[in-house]
Symmetry: D2
């Protein structure tokens, strides 16, 4: 996480200020319930609501001495609250505060990412609809296959990010749990009703069995979903990088006035934003394994996961947030060149209709093997002519073919409409 790839909205969620604010809220809610249950004086919650506060710099200072962040925090709070602070955190353990707050931070992050996804989906949908019938070549293995439309391409990515959203919602649900169950999770020193109250107030559910900490398989799930979303970002970014290649140039990232593509070569317009997203995806993905390694804690817990999460939680969330927003910008401002798409479609001299011809032969009672051979031998001739021969001409010159398919039949096969007849219904299904 470096400023260059960070949006403050997400970074703030993981800053000390926000974390301690959530800690204070948890402690305050705990006091409210404990007071209600008569465990601590009834006056405490009100005092906390009035005077409860903390000082980040002071906490740092205290932590350097006591080497314990929650104790440092409580000491700082005590300096604001006075002697009544003794009732704060009573019977609770540090993890009760840390883990519950971490859940809140991750749900906040998830909510921001869900908003990012909505904006990306909107941008993709707009472009997909606008280019629903913009013809272009579909490529498998980088090789021209058959016609499709640019809207269809985008609809595929739209569908992927809709799945991303569903998975992220589920992962958010998975992580939206709290634990306020004391040391080793037995509620020996804290009434379960305190946990239930905090959970309800903060939109969380109590952990089923908290062995002092919230089990890390929940967090692993969260980061895994982020890694998958980042991979979908890379997928679309790679598509754009391909489309912008000099030889293809069907689309380009917006190139602003004043922008310089290369210090040495003033003619360059590079898909640097999409390349950047490719790299950022590698980063988000790399955090999945440490998150999974965190699942194994010794006995009721150790603290090895903490240094990992202090890094990957902000890093993964910030990087994915930045990536989604950047991708949305790329999609919204993408320069799309339907004419070049059309030119490229025609680059192979009609080879892209080869399946159509083969099917027609099959239907004209030629065996699959023979059909394949008849079409392939003409296709390879055209392919090797490097543009000087057209597939239609080659077929028309092949007696074995024309015996089965006459010119008008062949012409009906060489028709883009054959390939777009279902595009509308696919888009309808995808873009709901």
């Amino acid at each position: 996480m470096i400023p260059r790839y960070t949006r403050p909205e997400m970074a703030e969620i993981f800053e000390a200020q926000n974390r301690f604010k959530i800690w204070l809220e948890i402690e305050t809610l705990a006091c409210e319930k404990m007071a209600e249950l008569g465990i601590i004086p009834a006056s405490v919650p009100k005092i906390l609501r009035e005077k409860g506060n903390f000082d980040v710099a002071r906490i740092d200072e205290i932590e350097r001495e006591v080497k314990h962040d929650v104790i440092a925090f409580l000491t700082s709070v005590a300096e604001f609250v006075g002697p009544d602070s003794r009732y704060v955190h009573q019977g609770m353990t540090s993890s009760d505060v840390i883990d519950t707050a971490f859940s809140v931070q991750l749900t906040q992050a998830a909510d921001l990412l869900l908003k990012d996804l909505d904006l990306l989906l909107r941008a993709l949908k707009k472009q997909a609809l606008e280019h629903a019938s913009t013809l272009c070549i579909g490529r498998s293995h980088g090789i021209h296959a058959e016609p499709t439309t640019f809207g269809m391409k985008l609809a595929g990515h739209y569908a992927a990010f809709k799945r991303a959203k569903e998975r992220l919602k589920a992962a958010r649900e998975d992580i939206a749990v709290c634990t306020v169950s004391g040391a080793v999770g037995t509620y020996a020193t804290v009434n379960p009703q305190v946990e239930a109250y905090i959970a309800q107030k903060m939109g969380l559910k109590p952990e089923t069995v908290a062995t002092q900490v919230i089990p890390r398989d929940r967090h692993a799930m969260f980061f895994a979903v982020l890694g998958i979303i980042a991979s979908s970002v890379e997928n679309l970014a790679t598509e754009i990088r391909h489309l912008q290649r000099t030889e293809v140039r069907e689309a380009e990232e917006f190139f602003s006035q004043g922008q310089k593509g290369s210090s040495a070569m003033p003619h360059k317009r590079n898909p640097v934003l999409s390349e950047n997203l490719t790299g950022l995806a590698r980063l988000v993905r790399s955090m999945v394994i440490p998150a999974m390694e965190n699942v194994t804690l010794w006995h009721e817990r150790d603290i090895s996961h903490s240094s990992v999460e202090r890094n990957i939680a902000p890093d993964a969330c910030v990087t994915l947030d930045f990536s989604l927003v950047r991708l949305t910008g790329i999609v919204e401002n993408l320069l799309i060149y339907p004419d070049t798409m059309k030119d490229n479609l025609e680059k192979t001299g009609g080879l892209i209709f080869s399946q159509g011809v083969m099917l027609a032969l099959t239907q004209a009672d030629v065996s699959r093997e023979d059909s394949y051979r008849m079409v392939q031998r003409n296709a390879m001739k055209v392919w090797e002519s490097r543009g000087s021969l057209s597939f239609m001409d080659a077929l028309l010159a092949d007696g074995e073919v024309t015996e089965k398919l006459d010119k008008s039949k062949l012409q009906s096969i060489f028709d883009y409409k054959n390939y777009t007849k279902h595009i509308d219904s696919i888009l309808k299904r995808a873009l709901i």
Copy 2:
């Protein structure tokens, strides 16, 4: 995937025989619908049902020449079916068969893993209930913290594997899709009703937008969930390894007659099964990143994901299946030593009641800081005495403490029952 760590039930799902069987079913179903739609002769499906077959060795042989597995398969089928085979696979592309069949294989694998999880859950539940009140020490950081019960420990793992089950169900749902939409997914050459029919018959849903292939974020999700489950396996395996340590020895893997722990040291009984699971977890986890790298395919598809999946699909599923079954066996046959658990509980001379004392002091109007200091100074003295001093004696000898808490108050704190009062309700919540 090596025989040593493989159960045939899972391996068979990924063998050629099963894959081609599914391929044939897909082609046959496609013909059924095409015949119904009048695209191919009405007689074809019946012929296929009667004569449709394939020969794995023959397919291998043909593939060596044509270098294309689906073509090789179709050729083998044609050798059984005769001239009508020309109608098979009509308008379809290889991915229609390969990807749909892969979905079927993964759902079969998921179903087996779900069954494995059920058996593991049953074993955990049985032991958890049996040891619901078997006292043992809860440890954080490997250090004695406060009492808990062995049933509570197991209930935590039970809850983790219940979450695993829910996630696996969702991942199964995610991958239970088919595509029969032809080259670049436009249905240009295959009627969407064919796909709908196959989907319905095979318990799948049609892919929203298939760019020739089923998008790989679905598969990434599947393997990520497997990685997380493996991590939960490692978590429990690590617990057992810890419990079996010579100094702890609260539980041991079953050691069969005739078994030899070490070639050199006949006295050894090693937790080798649990160590083995630790290693296997690393393997399953390692397949998550390649699965995510697979999400990025060039344009409408490339084939880079294929070699990855040919390896990780059987490897991850077989290894996790084996791990779950092995873990179930370990849990079922675990030698559990309640007496040693009790002995260990008492090893720190009562230090594990330190929080209780601190809380009592706080409630007796001592500030949190002072309470902490009073308890800590006595605790450290006991800790450093290495067993020659008891915490109770130390406290009774500390005037500042006894001024606030008399002996009988202290004795009521030094009571295991304080720690187990909520265990039953936690177990009830967990083991439903």
Copy 3:
């Protein structure tokens, strides 16, 4: 590791037959030295050399009972050797045999990989020399940058695989260690001279401190180097996939007679081998993390690394071996199209000379910023004309430019020779 991507030469190294053969050699060498030292009867080594043997199936059978592979092996050997077998393995621990043999297997694998690299280097060198002056466009960000030659491209990959070779040699050295030091590595029960003798005979060095096992950082290094080599394979494979794109088509994988590119589209010639290598690279790379996780063993050793290595050692070595051989074949048989390279060079209407023009302007006393602007404004005009405008014409029509650079000066800039003058010396440096 599946047959499809496996060469028997490498697979055999990891088969039981080879492993047990090495085990037997270690035990025999140990007996030779022990006999020499008078620890065991002088007759034992000779008996072992004569009758020493094992039976893989029998070992499997015994292992199922005793659950210990070395004991099973020794029992099988005893069945061949008779009562003198009691002297075999005396004072040694299983790891002495297993780890030393594993080192031998890995050095055998390294030697095969080094041979693979040599063949790949030879193929690259041949093509690089042949195409030393075959002009083609150099691309950064997928966008045409400046001219280079195809030989230069290949020389870069040649240099990468030479580095690969050096690193693999070092990794081989790193892993070429043995341990024969008994339980927990103290030589309590085995004379250090036995280890020294075995090491010398087998081309290994004794481990500095073996805590029963050879420390796993050595193995981690080995697998990391394999992962890096696989990444270099992916790099060249990706280059070829790009060159084969329909719009680029500067090179193609050899397409054999009888080969079928697509079941549906007979015109397709896909770079499937290179795509396959891309996937295989993901696999080899994925084994690096488990190898690193293996470094942490509990105390003097646990066995968690074993299941990992039983899988990744054959998998990584077999997959990389297969990849290198496949890549060599691709390079040797690559169809290279110099004419298309030339055509592509000229696709941007001379824009690729933009830096030359800018430098000339700077040397003609225009500031860098102004030079950049003058060149960029003309370049963008040409870029957006999509081929209808030439860069030379645009510059000649720009008075501000022609004031500084006349036509003949501009023509001397638009000369490919400017870009190839150092290629020979680079190739000489690289291809030694």
Copy 4:
């Protein structure tokens, strides 16, 4: 990389100030050589040495407009240098500066890490020598195996970090290369002598073939080595965590006055530093895969690696630097308890001598199988007695054993000296 786990020494290497300082030096050196070659006016280098400077904030500001960091840097330099700045960077491309500077940064980082390793080695050596003969139990699988010494344990880790040092030196060498070869690396616009001069002045070697950038397999190697070192850190950290377990407690991390181990349980002294290192190792390790994914760049280069390296270079170096320093502190201040080590040695009632007994039986003409059985049956009896039975007593009560080994023979086997006789020579070999 967060302040909590960051030492300024390492962080500064990756700060903008240091990076731009190196950039300026590269540009200045380039001008020196170009002036000498008569390519630019002889006065330029002197002016640059006098007035050459930059302003980080200004560079940020310019970059926001031009979206190109090198151009922004050059503009800032120009504002200090004046019109002569036009000669700066002439014929060079951005990567010439960026990649060469990155090499310098990584060698600086490597040098700091090498220093860290030296300090760690010193600390380990000191403790190893001090505890050369401190007896303790060696454990395999967490189970008591045979005696060793604490110095021997540490010597093993010493040897691992010595290997780490050798590998890091090699990785430093691997990355100590520069490229100043212009766009696509052809030296078309920059004389190779410029590169040679810069290389010599900066302690680097020119890249063999730079396709505009330094090939990323070099960087992958660097980060892989960091990942392996981090894994060795984790290995030692895990040892310490084990030793500090309540039941073992053979060593403890230093616990400072004022430190608080737990907010809830004042008696706790947790190995939190070692646990922290365990987590940090996961982080460093996780950066290896992205570094390897970076190896594949499109054609002559793309920029996808950049965002990865901007993160992982500081993160991996800072985290490993912090880890090594923290580990050194832990080792230096480790509380070591020889008495507890002795107590633990004796916990199994002499079982740890089982191999000695077995060997003696073998030498007394009992077959290996019978020896094993005789020893194992007594060992298991003792093991199951949980301390109430001693192994010596059991053996003495077993007629079949005493027939072969009399009491005095058995007593000579039950002697720690048998296990330490080679320790000195191992330590001598390791600690040189």
